[in-house]
């Protein structure tokens, strides 16, 4: 069936089977491979994208169910050359090792900060609790999101000294 999904601000119309999963639609049809595909069983959370602003596991959403909704993927986080503070935070705080969980983690961080600009450590840990980091680098992921909270986008780019630890 023919569907139109708004992805990263643009409408994309494709012919898909109803059983086509959103993660495959993004990766295979739109070639947005920043969204990773992991366990396929809604456990690992590496396929998290934002649907109408909230994190969802795209391996457990049908593409046809996303029709008419707004999907945001990691490709949309940066504004041109200007990284999102969450992306910058992952650089500053060494928030990734292998990078497999990173797109989903960053989107969850973005959605959390959009709702709650100053989350506690516990709130960050709860927000990412549906996503696995196979390198077990959770501490630095939390620090990365904390860094982003301290360095908001409106702060005119990066304000904190690179490599600072808190």
């Amino acid at each position: 069936m023919r569907i139109t999904v708004n992805v990263n601000g643009d409408d994309h119309t494709r012919e898909v089977e109803p059983r086509h999963l959103l993660v495959r639609f993004l990766r295979d049809d739109l070639e947005l491979t920043g969204t990773h595909w992991g366990c396929d069983t809604s456990n690992c959370g590496t396929c998290v994208v934002l649907m109408d602003g909230e994190p969802v596991k795209s391996c457990t959403v049908l593409a046809v169910m996303a029709a008419g909704h707004e999907i945001r993927t990691v490709e949309d986080l940066a504004d041109g050359d200007q990284l999102d503070p969450v992306q910058q935070g992952f650089i500053e705080q060494h928030g990734l090792q292998c990078g497999f969980c990173t797109p989903g983690m960053m989107l969850t961080g973005r959605a959390l900060l959009d709702r709650n600009p100053d989350p506690s450590e516990q709130e960050i840990r709860e927000a990412i609790s549906g996503q696995l980091c196979r390198c077990t680098g959770y501490l630095n992921i939390v620090k990365s999101i904390q860094w982003a909270a301290r360095n908001r986008a409106e702060a005119d780019g990066v304000t904190e000294t690179a490599g600072s630890q808190t």
């Binding site: 109803p18 059983r19 069983t41 456990n43 649907m51 909230e54 994190p55 596991k57 457990t60």
Partner: protein, 297 residues
């Protein structure tokens, strides 16, 4: 790659249209809302409906409203909405206890109370919660609405009272004066299914327990509403001795099986211990003014 078998997809624009589609396609149609129980089963080919009727646009089924002495929760209400509802937390702390440990945030953004109950998995948390609360389910079909108790709603593992051409539209939770409730769950890791879990709801009247409801999850079928424990509790004064006995009866009344999450013996132990813990907290909450539980740590 896990892909469901082929099916047709219909997005309903009204409850009446959804019912019409369900009637037209009969046994082969399934309602999909969050899809976080159904789609994994379809990927594993444990379920292979020929038609999915998507009800995500039926916003009239997404509501939490106090009507008289009932809290009416639309079937499409997401887990996240339940967890963030002040009204739910005020009257039914058991629901917030459970929602905090149901799957994880991205899953709770999609999953719904209606989907949880209709899946009727004996390990599912809200089924035990609604069993303990003596909730009622509103089922709509061609002939109108019918209201069934949770005891009648759950007919066995993966079986409910919702018939062909019908759908669950609302869950009604009774608001009782002097009520307290709590849910206790042991899970292997964040977001997992319960190894075992216990829900308790009750009221205190002149120092004695009344309206007791006890529901267990993940310890076999038929534990969503434990009559033996409820009978023991009703009319009794709260005491550690009573909790001990209630735990023992709960433990004896369930039928867990050994699996990857634990041995039957361990789960039976948990059924008793978690019943005792939930009972203690429910009684403590029943003794407080409405709303004070929201400030608990």
């Amino acid at each position: 790659m896990q892909v469901p078998a082929s099916f047709d997809y219909q997005r309903a624009e009204s409850v009446d249209e959804a019912l019409e589609l369900l009637r037209r396609y009969g046994e082969e149609a399934r309602v999909v809302a969050g899809g976080h129980s159904l789609l994994p089963m379809m990927k594993l080919r444990l379920a292979a409906p020929e038609v999915l009727v998507d009800i995500n646009d039926l916003h009239e089924l997404d509501h939490i409203v106090l009507v008289g002495d009932e809290l009416r929760v639309g079937a499409l209400t997401r887990h996240r909405t339940l967890l963030e509802s002040e009204l739910v937390g005020r009257y039914f702390p058991i629901v917030h206890d459970a929602e905090k440990v149901i799957a994880d945030p991205p899953v709770r953004n999609r999953g719904t109370i209606g989907g949880s109950l209709c899946q009727a998995d004996p390990s599912e948390d809200l089924s035990a919660v609604c069993g303990a609360l003596h909730a009622h389910a509103v089922i709509r079909g061609a002939g109108g609405e019918r209201i069934v108790s949770m005891a009648d709603f759950h007919q066995g593992p993966y079986e409910t009272a919702v018939g062909v051409g019908e759908m669950l539209t609302e869950v009604r939770l009774p608001v009782l004066p002097g009520a307290g409730s709590a849910y206790e769950k042991v899970e292997r890791k964040a977001g997992d299914w319960a190894v075992a879990a216990a829900g308790v709801a009750l009221t205190l009247r002149e120092g004695r327990i009344a309206d007791a409801g006890v529901g267990l999850a993940a310890v076999g079928a038929g534990a969503l509403n434990l009559h033996a424990v409820q009978t023991l509790l009703n009319g009794s004064e709260p005491s550690e001795a009573l909790y001990e006995e209630a735990g023992r009866v709960a433990s004896d009344s369930c039928s867990p099986v050994t699996d990857g999450r634990g041995s039957a013996e361990y789960k039976r132990h948990l059924a008793g211990e978690l019943t005792r813990r939930a009972l203690r907290r429910a009684v403590a909450r029943a003794g407080r003014p409405i709303g004070s539980t929201a400030r608990e740590a």
